[in-house]
Amino acid sequence: VRPARGVALVLVLVLTMILGLLMTQLSLSTRAQTGRAQALTDLTQRRLALHSAESVLLFGLLTRPWGSARAGFDEAAVENLWRFDGEPFTHNGVEFFVQDVSGRLPLPQIADSLITLERALVAMGYTSIEAERKTLRLRDFYSSTAPTGKLLGSPIQSMDELGDLLGLSRRELELLRGVFTLYPVTQFNINSASPLAVRIRYPGFLADSVLMYREREQLDAAAVFRLTGRSTDEFTVFFPGPAFEIRARASVGDVALESLSVWVIQPYEYEPLRLWERRRPLALEQFQ
C-alpha cells in the first residue's frame, strides 16, 4: 500500500486541472459570443431608437406649427422641445440638432457671385489672398470650356466636390456646410442662421447688433429696420422651412449611432415629405 500513497492526490489534481482548462475555455468562448451578441443587440436598439425618434420628429414637423420650443409645456411632445438653429435638444433619449436650411446661404452657382464664399473662407482663417485664390478655382470650374470652345457647364453637385476643388480639410468643409447649402434657398431666415452665416450676410458691426437682438429674442422686422434703416425685403424672413437638416444621435454607453438627412416638408403639397439629402455625418467629436 505504501508505494501508492499520494496517487489519489495526483489524480484529483490532474482532474481539477483538466476541468479548470475546460471551464476557462468555455468561459472565454461564452464571453466572446455574448459580447458580440450584445453589440449587435445594442446596435439594433440604437438604430430602432434613432429611426423611431426621427419618424416622430418628421411627423411633428408635418402636423404641427413650426413655432419655437415652449418651456414648461408637455415635454413628451417634440414640438415643445424643438428648435431650428442647429442647437441640440433631446427627445425620447435621442439628441437632435435641427437646422432650418433657410438659415444657410445658397452656395454660389455662377462665377460672378462668389463674394459670400470668399468672406466665409476669410472668416475660417484664410488670408484674403488665399481666399481669393481658392474662389478663383471655383470660378474656373464654373467657366471651364472644352478644347472646342464649348462651355462644359457643370454646377457643383455635392459639397464633397467643392471640398476637393478648393482643397479643404474635412473639418473646414464641415464648417462650410454650416454656412452654405446646395438646396435652392430663396429666403434667409435671420433667426435660425449660424453666427458665421449672419456675419457673412451682414458684414461689419451690423452682424454683432443682429446677433445681440437675436440673443435677446427681440429680432423682428422692426429691429432690422432700426438696425439697417431699411425695411426687410422678401428675401429676409423670421420663420423656418420648408427644408430642415436633421442630425440625430442615439447613444448607448460609449457608442453612438448618428444619422443626417435633409427633408423638404410641404404639408399641403401632393408629396408633403421629400428626402433631399442623406449622408454620413462627421462625428461630433471630430468636428468640435
Binding site: Q109, S158, D160, R274
Partner: protein
C-alpha cells in the same frame, strides 16, 4: 488492483467527457461559423444599403448634350452616384450593385465602386475605373431590383388631362435617368423572399435648372 481499476475508470470518464465536449464544441463551431458568415453578410449588406440611401441625384449630359441623371436601373442591378461609398472614405463614387449567377438557379449580390476623387463626372458616357469589388451575399433564390418614381420629368410637372387621373409616381422594372430626365425616389430590392425598400434623395428640378443655367 483497486488503484488500477480506479485509474482506468477515471481515464474512461475523462475520455468520454472529452469526446462529448469535442462533439459539442464541434457542432457549436459549425453553428458559430454559419452565424459569423450571416453577420458578415448582413454587415456588408448594411454598407451597401448606406451607399444606396446616401445616393446623390447627379446631373450629366449625354452624347447629344441632353441633360439627364446618372442613374441606370434594371431588374438585374443599378448604377448611381453616392456620397458614402464602401471603400472610398474621403470621396463620392459611382457604384454598381447587381446580381450574378451563382450555380444553378442561385444568385449572388455584387457591389462595385469607381471613386470620383480626381474625376469630374459630367458626361453619361465617361469611362470610369471600377477598381473595388465586393460580393455582398450569395446563395439567393431570387434577386431583383425595381424603382419607384415619376415616369419622367415632364410627368412630374404636368397637371394631367381633365377627366383622367393625374400622373402619379409608380413602380418601374427599369429606370434610366438619362431618358426619363429624373431620378427615382425609392429602390425596391428583393432578396430571397423579402423586399427591402430604400428611400433615396431626390433633387430633380434643382439639378436640371442649374445645368441649364450654366449652358
Amino acid at each position: 488492483v483497486e488503484l488500477l481499476i480506479s485509474v482506468a475508470v477515471l481515464g474512461m470518464v475523462i475520455g468520454l467527457a472529452s469526446y462529448a465536449f469535442s462533439l459539442f464544441s464541434g457542432s457549436w463551431s459549425v453553428v458559430r461559423l454559419s452565424t459569423d458568415a450571416q453577420i458578415n453578410s448582413a454587415q456588408r449588406l448594411d454598407l451597401v444599403r448606406h451607399a444606396l440611401e446616401n445616393s446623390i441625384p447627379w446631373g450629366v449630359r449625354d452624347s447629344r448634350d441632353n441633360i439627364g441623371f446618372y442613374f441606370l436601373g434594371r431588374e438585374e442591378g443599378l448604377t448611381l452616384v453616392t456620397s458614402t461609398p464602401v471603400f472610398s472614405d474621403d470621396s463620392h463614387a459611382v457604384v454598381r450593385v447587381f446580381r450574378e449567377m451563382e450555380g444553378a438557379n442561385r444568385w449572388r449580390l455584387v457591389y462595385e465602386e469607381a471613386p470620383l476623387r480626381s474625376t469630374r463626372l459630367t458626361r453619361a458616357d465617361q469611362q470610369l475605373d471600377f477598381r473595388h469589388r465586393m460580393i455582398v451575399m450569395g446563395g439567393l433564390a431570387s434577386l431583383r431590383f425595381r424603382y419607384f418614381g415619376w415616369a419622367s420629368l415632364q410627368a412630374s410637372v404636368e397637371e394631367g388631362v381633365p377627366g383622367a387621373p393625374p400622373p402619379r409616381p409608380q413602380w418601374f422594372g427599369d429606370f434610366d435617368g438619362l431618358v426619363r430626365q429624373i431620378s427615382p425616389q425609392r429602390i425596391g430590392l428583393t432578396l430571397g423572399g423579402a423586399e427591402v425598400v430604400i428611400e433615396i434623395p431626390e433633387r430633380v428640378s434643382t439639378v436640371v435648372e442649374r445645368l441649364r443655367v450654366v449652358e
